[in-house]
Symmetry: C2
Subunit: 458 residues, 2 copies
Amino acid sequence: MINGKRESKEMESPNQEKPSLFNSMFKAKYDKITTDVSHISQITKELAQDDPRRVVHSIKVAFAITVVSLFYYFDPLYEGFGVGAMWAVLTVVVVFEFSVGATLGKGVNRVLATILGGMLAVGAHRLSSLPGKKLEPFCLGVCVFITAGVTTFLRFFPKMKARFDYGVLIFILTFSLICVSGYRDDEVIDMAHKRITTILIGSSTSVIVCVVICPVWAGTDLHKLVATNLLTLALFFQEFGVEYFKTSSDEIANDNNEALLDGLKNVLDSKNNLDSLLNLAKWEPRHGRFKGSHPWTQYQKIGELARHCACRAEALHGFIYPHLQIPKEVKSKFRETRCKMSSESGIALKELSLAMKKMTKPSKAKPHLINAKQAAQNLNLLLKSNIWKNLNLSEVTSVATVATLLVDIVTCIQEIADAVEELASLAKFKDFKDVKVAPQIEKAKLGNQGSIKRAFLC
Amino acid sequence: MINGKRESKEMESPNQEKPSLFNSMFKAKYDKITTDVSHISQITKELAQDDPRRVVHSIKVAFAITVVSLFYYFDPLYEGFGVGAMWAVLTVVVVFEFSVGATLGKGVNRVLATILGGMLAVGAHRLSSLPGKKLEPFCLGVCVFITAGVTTFLRFFPKMKARFDYGVLIFILTFSLICVSGYRDDEVIDMAHKRITTILIGSSTSVIVCVVICPVWAGTDLHKLVATNLLTLALFFQEFGVEYFKTSSDEIANDNNEALLDGLKNVLDSKNNLDSLLNLAKWEPRHGRFKGSHPWTQYQKIGELARHCACRAEALHGFIYPHLQIPKEVKSKFRETRCKMSSESGIALKELSLAMKKMTKPSKAKPHLINAKQAAQNLNLLLKSNIWKNLNLSEVTSVATVATLLVDIVTCIQEIADAVEELASLAKFKDFKDVKVAPQIEKAKLGNQGSIKRAFLC
């Protein structure tokens, strides 16, 4: 019995170790999985909260695919198209995009390119069969080679790339598929007809679902993006007026500073987003307050000027918290003029942004722009005055640089104002009546809300 | 007879008018067509000369499609796959991209997503058939709806979007197609197997043709783009030294001015191109002098610093041709220091660019950077000296601004140098031996060749 107990103890010890090793490994794995899952769910939550349209879009895509797959499930619908019905499902998956412009653009491209490719392929098939059955594969091969080569090169043309890149791809696809499979299937026309019909069904389902259920308009997004960029610049200039004379040890400064720089970076990096939204907006029909003939290209001009202005603002940002060695008197005089110039520039930009958002004429921006110009003239007078005489040039260099850059920026904002004015006249914006400014700005979630209130201090 | 003649004359006059109207319309049409054709051929020529790889790419795509279509033309190959062989053609058309990275990325995405989507679809098909034939379409519909919705939302995840966007799309596609068509075709596994095999054939054909015939590496393009951006900045600073003291009436000035600004704009707008090349480069295996573990993300850092520097340079550009009212003596002293600072910065950047191009350590840039810093110190001393005492601040404002911006730029170039140094150590670049500088730069076609020679004047 004693021996038996010993044995059982000996047996137990490795057994006890094994589960503990296994347990710790299992626990480590389990912990890693729970961390990963919580991380993913966190990102998911952020993505959904950041833009709830993403959730709606996912449901819309799932709905459209399910609707099209009805062709397979129900016999009467299936009878008509057979296996070809899968092209409808494929079309929905590939064509359905986030915005109406993108979906419409892809849909139109796909349908037109399929019709053109199908027709040409039928022609090529007929021509290739003329020299006889033996030479047919050779002729078809040559046709496919030349067409694929030429159309692939077409994709490098800037205008084609911007609007018809997907169409050219689908043209090559349809042409090759019908040409090649036509060699087997003598009913080429029937095949082309079925393919075009199913693609039409898929494309129109996508477009209808995209437009009817909570549509996302690329044009509206473009309009908002440009207006937001102007507001970001406005916040920067208003904030700059306050921050410039602070020391870097101030509490809020650093957070605010980063938020300002991030905002400028967003404006500077918005080119690609803006250009692609512009291309998509051109596909969209009349919607909301945007007419069919809305001057979309004008947004590109305003966007470019805003980036130009952001570049100057980034250069200006290097002079927040300078170690000014100038006397208090000089400082306060300079502060007043510079602060006015910066804040008036900011308000002018904010008014331009608001006018764009409300689609009214930017008449309220003008007086602030005039004030900013007046402040610039005052600054010039101040620079010409004698108060600087007893100072070293190196001591007032940063003051002079900020002043010069601000004068340059006022010119830049004048150009932006002109471009917004041009947009207002081209798009026939209404006259400004009575728009409450403050609540509108507070509603604009730029992740920089505290700074707006502080900006008004200036 | 007379009457007859009269009649014939009356008949002639409208007849004579008609052909002339017809002729003029025909001529106008003909002229328009010839103008269009010559315009298109001009663009084609430019596109081909600008980057001859575009022509090679078009031929490669045509060749790959023709090779894959052999499956249809030859009976033994056709027997194996039947109509499913068209998936191979479709895969080549969709997967074949300009660079190896893009083709490989799309190919791998397509194959993996097809396998995963196919396997899950077979599972879903089996599960759905459990509750009975009547409930099967309903279960399949729910499966497709949930999978399509969840995976569409996955496409919004930044990391997924960057590398696996196409894969997620293909996953939804395969899953939906096999789930849906599986309801008709009981041999789901056979169908999935055929689809995966044909897609593997299409993808591997694309990758092989893309890699074997004149491959275009995204990594090499990324490396060249970043080096070219540094060279563009170098040219700007060297040119700025010369142009700053010219008057705007100088002959060459305007052309040069525009070329300089265009160069800066290219650097500022390169973010998107750089980011997408980075994503593609990560897919590429070892090639040329780039190892598999090449530190590609470092290029993003250098690119961002270069854009930051270009921003400062654009602000600086506003001060070319200032109306300087300062005495000649002061001007010449200032000119010497500023010119040295600008040109040494330019040479330092050029050396950094060359070191990157040659993949050597950027040891030759260091002395020029030290010189630039020394010049910055001298400039500070000059600003502290008495020569400015008798001048108005407004008269020397632009001088002070240029000086401050240049000091800021020297700091920025130091950061670029550090980043290039880091890249050189991470990628184990060789030590610099003997690289001829001048011919290398003259070979770099930036459309700004004249300016390089002028830059050496400074």
